[in-house]
């Protein structure tokens, strides 16, 4: 995916001015936030009822479940190499082939090589963010393999001219129903309709031929299970099942951090993921795919490949950002982010938007290629307080800001301003005098009114709001005058 994250600030204005986008964002926000809240409430009520029925007072709340989820993910990340070896051995024993990719190019190379080996000219895909990281569709097309997205959202984006997704679990959240209706009428050459089931049926008809004619299925993976060597897929559409069972070749492309030790651990994470993502108690489909088609199996692929991708992940292991590898890609952080809610996912300019994207993009693609992202946060911690695996996102963003400072990547004016301010703050008498002058200056700017409408020192403040005028003298001046020294 072409990276645009370096132009974040410039792209924000367009998003704010985009009336349609703003309307869509408003709708989506209510949906995801309210549904998660309801799911959590219900979970806690059920837990309390269960505990009471058993005469105990130690109900497992959603908060406790998040602790458990975080602990499982931390355990894996702390010994990632070991878990990967166990997974690899189990996967091989079940008949799968395990391939490793250091970066996006290697993902593409492996996939194309697999397609060639099996003489494949068409691949059906279910949702995979790794495929976005690797820009896989473009590479496949160039190699003569037609990629067909079968997740409804991803399908819409593909026929809309390969638009990038704007949300990790709801990729077309930026589009209105009307836009989709127009798009379908144009691309499918059928009468325009706005009934959602009818539109879905139309997409299904268009996709059916692809399902039956594709030789290869490509999917992502929500979790890799070390003890079985299999993959867990959590989806809401039946397409994932078709992609992973109809074609003779199934390729799973996923990040090396997606491991869970056991199925028991999967059970814990499965209680967290859908509730955090969409407020569902469980997704419509949960598939556990292990090994190739056995002699007694009526269906399933004869060839199963895992492409396990690093693409920057291992560089997070050694440092302050290790917690980020716990991420299970639920999207709750962006759903609850005031910035994401206001500008949507495209403004972030790479695969992953929202708070998790603002951490991952600079780490995966280079700090200097996404300077705005860690800054574009109020550090309100609405993200961290809903993250199912308790990633301290604001802290990670702050650490990225520290990296920018130590690497001297902040603008000179900002560095200078901070230096002067820090110097003053160490000198109480001067600081007090500066505050007193500044209060007077602001009062003068307000010119007798209770507010300043244009503030030249910080024009960005008054671009969208006034600056209330100070009351007059500073607190300490008045305190000294009233209480004496």
């Amino acid at each position: 995916m072409r990276q645009q994250s370096m132009h974040f600030a410039a792209r924000v204005g367009d998003r704010l001015a985009d009336v349609k986008l703003q309307a869509n964002l408003k709708k989506a926000k209510g949906k995801f936030v309210d549904m998660r809240a309801a799911a959590v409430r219900e979970f806690d009520a059920d837990a309390a009822a269960c505990a009471a029925a058993a005469g105990r007072d130690d109900a497992v709340t959603f908060a406790a479940l998040r602790d458990a989820g975080a602990a499982i993910r931390s355990k894996v990340i702390d010994d990632l190499d070991l878990w990967l070896e166990i997974f690899e051995a189990k996967a091989k024993a079940s008949g799968a082939t395990v391939l490793w990719a250091r970066n996006g190019e290697e993902v593409c190379a492996h996939t194309i090589e697999i397609a060639r080996r099996h003489g494949i000219s068409k691949a059906i895909k279910s949702k995979s963010m790794l495929s976005e990281e690797a820009d896989l569709n473009a590479a496949l097309s160039a190699a003569g393999v037609q990629p067909v997205e079968t997740d409804l959202g991803e399908y819409i984006l593909q026929i809309a001219g390969n638009e990038p997704p704007s949300h990790i679990i709801a990729p077309v959240i930026h589009k209105t129903l009307d836009e989709v209706a127009d798009l379908f009428a144009r691309e499918h050459g059928k009468p325009r309709k706005t009934d959602i089931p009818a539109l879905t049926r139309e997409a299904r008809e268009a996709l059916r031929a692809h399902f039956l004619s594709a030789g290869m299925g490509i999917s992502g993976g929500n979790f890799l299970i070390a003890e079985t060597g299999g993959v867990a897929l959590v989806t809401n559409e039946g397409n994932g099942r078709m992609v992973t069972t109809l074609p003779n070749v199934h390729v799973v492309i996923t990040g090396i951090e997606k491991i869970l030790p056991t199925l028991e651990d999967l059970a814990t994470l499965l209680r967290l993921l859908p509730r955090s993502a969409t407020g569902q108690t469980i997704s419509n489909y949960v598939s556990l795919l292990t090994g190739t088609k056995g002699a007694a199996d009526p269906d399933g692929p004869e060839h199963l490949y895992f492409i396990l991708v690093d693409n920057g992940r291992s560089s997070l292991l050694e440092d302050d950002f290790r917690a980020m590898l716990r991420c299970i890609r639920c999207g709750a952080c962006m759903n609850h982010c005031p910035v994401y809610q206001t500008i949507g996912g495209h403004a972030y300019g790479w695969v992953y938007p929202g708070p998790m994207g603002s951490v991952l993009t600079p780490l995966f693609t280079g700090i200097e290629r996404a300077l705005d992202l860690p800054q574009a946060s109020t550090l309100c911690n609405q993200c961290g307080s809903v993250c199912p695996v308790k990633i301290p996102l604001p802290q990670l963003l702050r650490t990225l800001r520290e990296r920018q400072v130590t690497r001297q990547l902040r603008p000179r004016s900002e560095r200078f301003g901070l230096k002067v301010w820090a110097w003053l703050a160490q000198r109480p008498a001067l600081y007090a005098r500066a505050a007193s002058y500044f209060a007077r200056y602001l009062g003068w700017l307000a010119g007798g009114e209770d507010r300043i409408r244009v503030f030249a020192l910080a024009p960005q403040w008054t671009a969208g709001r006034d600056l209330p005028a100070p009351q007059g003298k500073t607190f300490r001046e008045r305190w000294a005058a009233e209480r004496g020294r």
Partner: protein, 253 residues
């Protein structure tokens, strides 16, 4: 009980009435109040902008000048949160400073938290004729667990009706330097907050952090709302109505 007032930069500069209101509340509750003269800033802006060295220096300065008091109280969840949660992190690798940072953290409180959980105040001097809605500022709410404290205190104010708004716990878009680095974005987030608080129909919005209040007031006025009052919780509780007039010394207003 000797209590040091941490005024905060913004209150000092923009709205001294909050400082006086805080002083009144603490003194009426029987505290011996001291305003250490050399105080400047807690260093949170340095920390948030990634300037760790400056943040550490300021942390040490604050630790030094606020030593020896029973408690330190700030009319701000954001500054109190920084002292409580960030100082021990910032000084974690300095063996002679860490215990001092932890010790200061343990006796530093946000105002409403202090009034409720330390002083167990059950009567406040303020009076308010009308309805208010409470905006939960992020650092206090998610960093210090300040949610019920201001509401419990506001419930003690004669004449005051509390009307909760939708999304009270959502960020107002201030975010310190964020508000000037991404001004439009910040104002757009503030606009949503303003919509919610207006929908509550309250006469005033009340909060515990001046940064957020300036943001909200600035946006309300820009939208042409000259009517909804924007008040700090200390002002409401103390009966200092934010018009700039301080109560007289000793809180005999």
């Amino acid at each position: 009980m000797r209590v040091a007032l941490f005024v905060t930069c913004l209150v000092d500069l923009m709205r001294p009435s909050i400082g006086f209101a805080t002083a009144r509340l603490l003194e009426e509750a029987g505290c011996e109040l001291v305003v250490p003269e050399t105080q400047t800033c807690c260093g949170q802006p340095a920390y948030s902008s990634g300037n760790r060295a400056a943040a550490r220096q300021l942390a040490k300065k604050v630790i030094g000048e606020f030593a020896g008091f029973d408690y330190v109280v700030a009319p701000s969840g954001s500054c109190a949160e920084h002292i409580r949660n960030a100082y021990p992190l910032l000084l974690a690798d300095e063996a002679d400073w860490l215990p001092r940072a932890q010790e200061l953290a343990a006796r530093t409180f946000e105002l409403t938290d202090f009034l409720v959980n330390v002083l167990h105040v059950d009567k406040v001097p303020g009076r308010f004729a009308g309805s208010v809605t409470y905006h939960d500022s992020c650092s206090g709410l998610r960093g210090l667990g300040i949610r019920e404290q201001p509401r419990a205190l506001l419930a003690q104010v004669p004449g005051l009706e509390l009307r909760e708004m939708a999304g009270a716990e959502e960020c107002c878009g201030f975010g310190g330097a964020f508000s000037v680095k991404f001004g439009e974005l910040s104002a757009a987030i503030a606009a949503r907050k303003c919509g919610n608080l207006r929908a509550s129909g309250a006469d005033a919005v009340v909060g515990g952090d001046l940064g957020c209040l300036l943001n909200i007031e600035g946006r309300l006025r820009r939208e042409g709302d000259l009517k909804t009052r924007v008040l700090h919780v200390a002002e409401v509780l103390a009966g200092v109505d934010g018009d700039g007039e301080a109560p007289h010394a000793g809180g005999a207003n």
